[in-house]
Symmetry: C2
Subunit: 302 residues, 2 copies
């Protein structure tokens, strides 16, 4: 076995926790430790993480091949930059679909200058779902693909709501309404004295919610509503060559942070094999995400 | 628009016909013509193909960037070699799973020497299904994937039966028996005087059938039983990181030659973008199969 990949996790939210587990579960990886903001350094780690090296600067964790950025999506590109400039590979699950072209382009320049690799939008959507949509297109170039999420808690949407002043806790549920249309059910617990109408308006105006039918409900306790199960159904009816009615469907029912973190770890492996630059998942050969040698996977999968 | 890709088709069976259609339907391709064996050159083309340039040697079709090999699977690697040696890219849908590592390795050396690209096993299974299986693995590294084919006519199996002496016409139907197990229903029309038992034994001993429960039925007319619809259900239940019960499913219901030919045309596009060598589909970035520029696809699919 060749040298293990030394990976660190930045951030300790849902995905950070799952990323630590996924690194430890991967035989070809070695967990270098956790990077937290200075202000979080004094917080006690959960007992399950006792003994885990923690630092405010990745340099204090020894040599690190790649960092998994489990940071709030909107802060992630700026954080990625600081690692890439130092020549450290990054993997993120940045999920603002409309900004991915720009973020990839910006990080591409930084990564090449730093001699590093960034894998961007490496979750399940954007991420592995994007690869499935690419497969659908190459198999049936004319047709319509619909992506139907949920029912399930959207982490990106939930984090966006939590960032709104006056919100103590929140949960955003995605409900599939068919043909790629979704309803957002947002459950909010307010800070004492917060104005519900102001919070509701801030949610409806947020780019995460502005394009979907969104319902906001105020509750006392969000915690008891939480379940991180999620899913998607993607469908395409299209034409191959001149032959219509080709039908494709991809469905999954998954633990959301666990899948996101696993895709990030697999993408970290790919990052070790790519030339400097920034990549989305559709730009990477699928076998590059898998451990070991190519011919073994061809024999098993092809 | 950049220069069109000039492609020729070799062979005029089910896949050859569909490949001609798929090339004509692709805006970024130009059909150079059809290559047939010398012995077939005098045969009249179907009326729909009137005016199509036909030659026994690809050199007589003008400059050709890539050939789609719609030839019997077992003859295909040797035929690919003759093109790669001349520096012409090849795409095939070679489908003997157990031989793909060896064929790719052999064609890799020839392709590199000829400065050409070979995309091997570029159908749907092996092919796009292989990419889905790779996705399943990278999302949930521990678990079991089952691939359940059919019901549908298997072209590779059908061609294998037709090659047996004494067989006038044949059809091999694949029936899913669950958990990746299949039954093969083979319908055979015999040549006058052929020995049914000898034909049956030859079928059961063929590597295409030796591992599956196979039933052979003798009929007068195979033609009226034929339908080229096919399908697959691939399922995986696995573990992401340390989280079990992640569930994935991919299903399609398709016109078999049309999908195979479309995948080959998409792979021909990828062949234009790859460094010399031989590749299976899991070794190629998914976006390389799609026309136009990468950022447009990132904006649409990621």
């Amino acid at each position: 076995m060749s040298k293990r990949i030394r990976a660190a996790v930045v951030g300790l939210g849902n995905i950070g926790h799952a990323a630590l587990e996924a690194i430890e579960a991967a035989d070809d990886f070695e967990l270098a430790g956790l990077v937290r903001r200075k202000t979080s350094l004094d917080r006690t780690l959960p007992r399950a993480l006792a003994g885990l090296p923690v630092a405010a600067d990745v340099a204090d964790l020894g040599p690190v091949d790649v960092v998994l950025l489990a940071t709030p999506t909107r802060e992630t590109p700026a954080i990625a930059r600081t690692y890439l400039e130092r020549g450290i590979r990054t993997v993120d699950s940045f999920d603002l679909h409309g900004d991915i072209v720009r973020v990839r382009r910006e990080l591409h320049a930084v990564a090449r200058a730093g001699g590093a690799v960034a894998v961007v939008a490496a979750g399940w959507d954007p991420g592995t779902d994007s690869v499935v949509r690419a497969l659908f297109e190459l198999m049936a170039p004319r047709g319509i693909t619909t992506t139907n999420f949920g029912p399930g808690m959207s982490m990106g949407h939930t984090v966006a709501v939590k960032a709104i002043p006056g919100v103590r806790d929140a949960l955003s549920l995605t409900i599939p309404a068919g043909a790629g249309v979704h309803r957002r059910m947002v459950y909010v617990a307010l800070e004492p004295g917060a104005d519900p109408d102001a919070v509701r308006q801030a949610i409806l105006a947020d780019p995460y919610f502005a394009h979907d039918e969104t319902h906001v409900a105020f509750v006392d306790d969000v915690e008891r509503l939480k379940d991180v199960g999620h899913g998607v159904v993607m469908e395409r009816k299209g034409t191959s060559g001149r032959t219509a009615n080709q039908r494709f469907s991809f469905e999954m029912r998954i633990h959301n942070p666990a899948l996101t973190a696993q895709v990030m770890v697999s993408a970290a492996r790919a990052a070790m094999r790519l030339q400097p630059g920034a990549y989305t998942l559709i730009e990477i050969p699928p076998v590059a995400f898998l451990p070991g040698d190519v011919e073994t996977w061809i024999a098993r999968l092809v």
